[in-house]
Amino acid sequence: MIEALELSRRFGRQWALRRFSGRFEAGTVSAVVGHNGAGKSTLVGLIAGLLRPTEGALSVLGHDCATGPRPPAVRSGLGVMLHQPYVYPDLSGAENLELVSALYGQPLTSKARHSALHRVGLDKAARRAARTYSRGMLQRLSLARLLVQTDARAWLLDEPATGLDSEGHQLVVELVSELRDSGRAVVMVSHQAALVEALADVSLTLERGRLAS
């Protein structure tokens, strides 16, 4: 589903990622771990399409994504959950979820919206402005996207359990397991050893931009 070959990215003179090669398969959760500055977020940015590789090849969902604009099939087939929650503070939780879903061409029915928000524990706060949410609630709202972006065949999750309590951790484990069981490829960046241990089928360690042997 996602394959990188000698993928590299340089910022100025500094290589953030150097000759990374790896495959992320369908129905597999691949954890990318490493210290701060190891190149994990750079790898996510490259696969997501927010960064352009300096060198190397990248294939996402069968399309060459190292150069040129990405086809809509890749954009709609790749779900991305960045480290910061993609949220507009002046819209309610329900409106934020509806907007993201509509942007991905999947308008939400009120039943589906309620079901997703209920699953992440935000049904009672659905009509409140996201500005009033705590960090954990914002993260739960991001997690609700995993339930509504059903066209995504692969997911990139950058620190999916940030700000969550133990119940929230369990929710992440359940949701990511469901993605794997439904045949999605999941690439998960996390510092949390317990989460990696609970979910990862494959674990890749980055050290100073390189894949550790």
């Binding site: 927010l50 352009r52 604009p69 790749l78 507009y88 819209l91 907007l99 061409g105």
Partner: protein, 225 residues
């Protein structure tokens, strides 16, 4: 998909504005302040007002538009919302078009609120037969400014010195349409030589076409770092 996405982003910006009134309030207040300062600084009589009035109007549009641009992109900077929009299936082009339309709408609404005040403060009579030319000048000028401003606003939105850099980069590029706007506004107010207005209209329309051809293309390429 692109048209739908443009509508979704535009509707979102308008909805947030209706709730917060941040962009329009700050733009309108700022525009009124500039006009008041100019009106008192120049102690305008009718002859001087005709001479400097069009310039004051366009400086006000330029500054208020820049303020609106900052606010429009600040919303996208918080919580990585811009990254979320850029990753959506319709891609950066839809984001660019939606933001241009949003800025055009916000500047136009500000003008509707502030222009009568401006004309009253500056003391320039705008004859009825001059209104279509004035409206056309505003349309072409605001469109040209928005096409360029959104390109650089998006590019520089995440930089630390964006408030300084954006005017430095945008103003020189939009100078032709602003000068055209000033000249056409003067013509609408009964100033300038006959036939001169057509040349300025052609110049403004020509630059708008150039911006329209180049800016979206550049935006879609530079928004991936």
């Amino acid at each position: 998909m692109t048209a739908k996405t443009i509508w979704l982003i535009l509707r979102k910006d308008v909805l947030i504005e209706l709730r917060t009134r941040e962009v329009l309030t700050s733009m309108a207040l700022f525009a009124v302040l500039i006009v008041v300062v100019f009106a008192f600084a120049f102690s305008l009589d009718e002859t001087r007002a005709k001479l400097v009035g069009p310039g004051i109007i366009w400086v006000t549009i330029l500054f208020a538009g820049t303020l609106g641009l900052y606010r429009l992109f600040d919303r996208e900077r918080d919580h990585a919302a811009m990254s979320g929009l850029l990753l959506a299936p319709a891609g950066p082009l839809a984001v660019y078009i939606a933001k241009v339309l949003g800025l055009v709408i916000f500047i136009t609404v500000t003008e509707i609120i502030v222009l009568p005040l401006m004309l009253a403060f500056i003391g320039v009579p705008l004859p009825l037969e001059g209104i279509p030319l004035f409206a056309l000048a505003l349309l072409l000028g605001v469109l040209g400014f928005s096409l360029v401003a959104v390109l650089f606003g998006g590019m520089l939105a995440s930089t630390r010195l964006r408030e300084v850099l954006i005017p430095i980069v945008v103003y020189p590029v939009v100078v032709p349409v602003i000068i055209g706007g000033v000249k056409l506004t003067g013509a609408a107010m009964g100033d300038g030589l006959p036939g001169e207005a057509d040349n300025w209209l052609r110049l403004m329309a020509g630059f708008d076409i150039i911006y329209l051809a180049l800016c979206p293309w550049v935006f879609t390429r530079v928004m991936v770092e």
